[in-house]
Each structure stands twice: as structure tokens, then as C-alpha cells.
Amino acid sequence: MANSLFEEKLNSNEFLVTTEIGPPKGADVSEMVHHIDLLKDNVDAINITDHQSSVMRFPSLGGCLLVKERGGEPILQVTCRDRNRLALQADLLLAYSRDICNVLCLTGDSIDVGDHKEAKPVFDADSVQLLRMIRTMESGKDMSGEDLKGALKFCIGASVHPEADFIEPQLIKFEKKVAAGAQFFQTQGIFDLASLRRFMQYASQFDVRILAGIIVLASARMARYMNDNVPGIIVSEAIIDELAGVEKGKGLEKGIEIAARLIKTIKEENLCHGVHIMAVGNERIVPEILEQAKLPSMPTKAQ
């Protein structure tokens, strides 16, 4: 089968824009469908998160099916928190059978940060092992060495944390993900472009595409809350101060401005290969961010 649309774009030199939608808690998907319709022609692909922050929701695979139905390009986020190797492989088979070929491989947040803290954490695999699992399946074998009926081909990615406060072990893990076959990376939230520049100086030696994670903050309070409670997020004091400086009710506006500014600079300075916008519940404002960042809506989608 041909490469996914997203994979073709990864292989081009375009500046890529992806975003993500968190599925609802419940079976009413109307708002998610609305967001898919709003975003699908403005971005190159839409990630559907997999019980983000370990909060039980409508499944990522179900969300990706909706993205396909609505004519968008989905990226299936798969975490290892809730499924053992049988379930992971089975979900990947289902995804592929429905032409969902882009997969972001994540270990997954700890059960302890979510809303089902008494659940059994699975973690049969980690993100590196999941990447390799997919490459193994593409070779025609499952994880027990049995033949798989029908060929598979995925476009696989992973995450990396350029702003980690202790970067060296993160870089070792990054290299293991590259060696495991990751084609693209969507980074954890970037708030300080100096760290992205440093990271790209190092990462540019690898043949992978890096999309800088842009988290849209709605207030200084939200930023502080995320710093304390959301794994992998380190919002800089400069950004928090900037958010704290606006009058009440204008926080999101400022958050949009900051996100747009970061994206604009990343693109103008050609710092990396694209951006991944995480609007955390404010999916509707993604087009406005792109507008402010002066990124044209997807010309390639319209052809």
C-alpha cells in the first residue's frame, strides 16, 4: 500500500502542522466531530490522544476512525499503559485495516496522575519496544514469531522532551527511538526556543522529522497547574509572567499570541520541520493561531 498522506508530507520539505484532539468522556462525539471538521483542512494531520493524562475517555482508535470518516488525516496515539502486547498488536491490526497508518508511540502517563488511580498499570512494553513491535509486525511476524496474514506498513513517530531539566538520559532514549525506526517526533511542549535550538543542533544529525510541540496556555494559573501536575511540562517563568501580565479574561488571547509567536519564529528561522499544536481543550482556536502565525491553511489539502 502507498505511504500515508502524512508520510508523503514528512518526506517532502514542507513545514508541517499537526494538532491534537482529546476525545470526550462519553459516547457523545458531536463536539469532537465538530473539531475534526474545523481542523482537518487546516493541518497536515490530527493526533487523537489515548486517555491523555491517564483520564478514561473515548478511545483514540475510535477518534481516528471519525477523522477518517470526515476526510482528515489521523495520527493514532498509542500508549502502553492500558494494553499488553496482545492488545497493542490487535489494535494496530484494526487500525491498519481501516487505513489508519500514522502511529505515535508513547509509553503513556502513569496511572497515578489520572482519574482511575486504582487501575492495574500494564506497561508490558515501553515506547521504544512499541516502535520495534510495529517494525516487527511490518516484517510479517507478530511478537511471538507467528506469520501475520497480509502486509502492514505504518508511519511511526514518538515523543521527545527537549526542555527536560536533565536532558542527557532523554537524549539516549531519543536515539534509541530513532534506532527503533521512529520517522517523526512530536516534542513535549516548547516554551523556550533556546532549548529547541540546542536540541535541533544535536538532532539534525539524525534522519528524522521533528515537530515542535506548542501548548496553548489560557492563563498563568493553568501554566502553574500544568507545571505541578502534568507530566512532561515545564512552562518557563518568562511565559508565566507574560500570561500573568494581562487583564482578567484575556489569558487565552495572550496564550494564542504566544503560541503564534513561537510558531512564526520556528518557521522563519527554520528551526525544525514543523509544529504540533496542543490546544488542551481549546481545539477551536487552532485556526486562529495559524492565522496569527501567518501560516497559510493547507494548500496541499485543497488540491
Binding site: R81, D112, D124, V128, M143, H161, F166
Partner: protein, 230 residues
């Protein structure tokens, strides 16, 4: 050693309701060391149960106490033979193994667990114990500088830290060190960082099919304590 915590008094009081004569049975090894079920804790629990009964005014339990050298080894249980005839239940302050050893040894005797067995670990400081071993059956400490990621990483990751580590701590518990930060630092110090760069495949859970049995490699004549010889 095995580390446990004594169950709340109210839970213990609920468990013993059906039984009149209760033997509170301590264990002289791990449970003594972790302050959960040694001679001292048996004595404290005995007093606490008596006081609670006196306060309630409508219970008629009689309590006795004894502490074995070990509860988890059948040969140490023989001394109970002449003690259990006079009781209706044994409230064991041994670990989960001790409770089960008693249940196996005395088929007609109800045995109650007085502690929650928590983990295998070590004393970190006075009165503080930390988990160190998950008994995974496939020890990898050579690869990880003597620090176990299966036990000490909340996700048991084998290939390096997740992105949730901050200030050297774990995303699941900000008081706990990130195992992979510790492993990195120690491997660096030992000049063995190449061990962290290696890929480690998914674990083989058949290394620990539960329940597990280990048979001694030493001459069977020496170690055989089978039923016929008991």
C-alpha cells in the same frame, strides 16, 4: 526482607468477630524487623484488642499471644501443635507467606491476616522502608548499575526515562527518585553508559509464571522435607 504494615485495628476487630478464642501470632524475622508483627507488635495489638473489647462492653473474646521464630517454614510451625487446640482462630502477624504456611499446616484452623504484606525492600532510615525488588525472576541489575527499573520506575520502563521526570523525581510520586535518573548517574560514574544505550526487549513474563516453584539444585536427599518425612 519482606515489608508489611499492620492492618487497622477496626479491620482486625471485624475479622475476629466469629471467633471466641484468638491466638495472636507474631513472626520473628522480617515482620519483627519492619515493626509490623514481631513480639512487640503482638503485645501492643493484644493490649489494643483488650482495651477495645472492654470499651465496647459486649464482646467475649479471649486472647493469647505467641511469636514464632518464623512462620514461613513448616518446621518452625511444629511448636504450635499443642497451642492451636485451645483456640478458634489464629490472627497471624506474619506476612502473606506466613498466613498461608499456617493454613497449609493446619487445615482445620481458620487463619486471619493481621498485616498487609507490601513489598520486598530495605530500611532506608530508622522507621522507613523502601521497595527494592519485584521478584521478577529475571534479574537485570548488572545492566542497570544495581538499581532496579522494574521495581523503582513506576512504569517498569527498561529503555530509559519517560518525559515525566522532573527535578530527578517520578511523575507518579514527587517524593520518589526517578529510577532512570539514578541509573544514568551511576552508570556515568561507573563509565558504563553504553549499557543504557543498548536496546532491551520486552520482558519475558514466563520467567515468572505464577505460582512459581524453585527446586533446589543441591542433592535432594539433603533438602527433601516431603510429606512422608514430615
Amino acid at each position: 526482607m519482606i515489608v508489611a504494615e499492620q492492618k487497622p485495628l477496626e479491620e482486625i476487630r471485624r475479622m475476629i468477630i466469629p471467633y471466641e478464642r484468638v491466638l495472636i501470632l507474631g513472626c520473628g524475622t522480617c515482620m519483627t524487623v519492619c515493626d509490623a508483627g514481631g513480639e512487640r507488635e503482638v503485645s501492643f495489638l493484644h493490649s489494643a484488642l483488650r482495651v477495645a473489647q472492654a470499651k465496647s462492653g459486649n464482646e467475649t473474646h479471649t486472647f493469647s499471644e505467641y511469636t514464632l521464630k518464623r512462620q514461613c517454614d513448616p518446621e518452625f510451625l511444629d511448636v504450635l501443635d499443642d497451642k492451636i487446640d485451645d483456640v478458634d482462630t489464629v490472627l497471624s502477624l506474619g506476612c502473606g507467606i506466613g498466613v498461608q504456611a499456617l493454613a497449609e499446616r493446619f487445615p482445620a484452623l481458620p487463619v486471619l491476616p493481621g498485616v498487609n504484606t507490601s513489598f520486598m525492600g530495605m530500611a532506608k532510615e530508622l522507621g522507613v522502608w523502601d521497595e527494592r525488588c519485584a521478584a521478577c525472576g529475571d534479574c537485570r541489575l548488572e545492566e542497570t548499575a544495581g538499581i532496579c527499573p522494574i521495581t523503582r520506575c513506576t512504569k517498569g520502563i527498561l529503555n530509559g526515562p519517560c518525559a515525566g521526570t522532573k527535578n530527578g523525581k517520578c511523575e507518579a510520586n514527587k517524593d520518589m527518585d526517578c529510577a532512570w535518573v539514578l541509573i544514568y548517574k551511576r552508570l556515568e560514574r561507573l563509565e558504563q553508559l553504553e549499557k543504557m544505550r543498548r536496546y532491551y526487549p520486552m520482558r519475558n513474563f514466563r520467567a515468572i509464571p505464577r505460582p512459581k516453584r524453585i527446586t533446589s539444585k543441591i542433592s535432594v536427599d539433603v533438602v527433601d522435607v516431603g510429606e512422608d518425612n514430615g
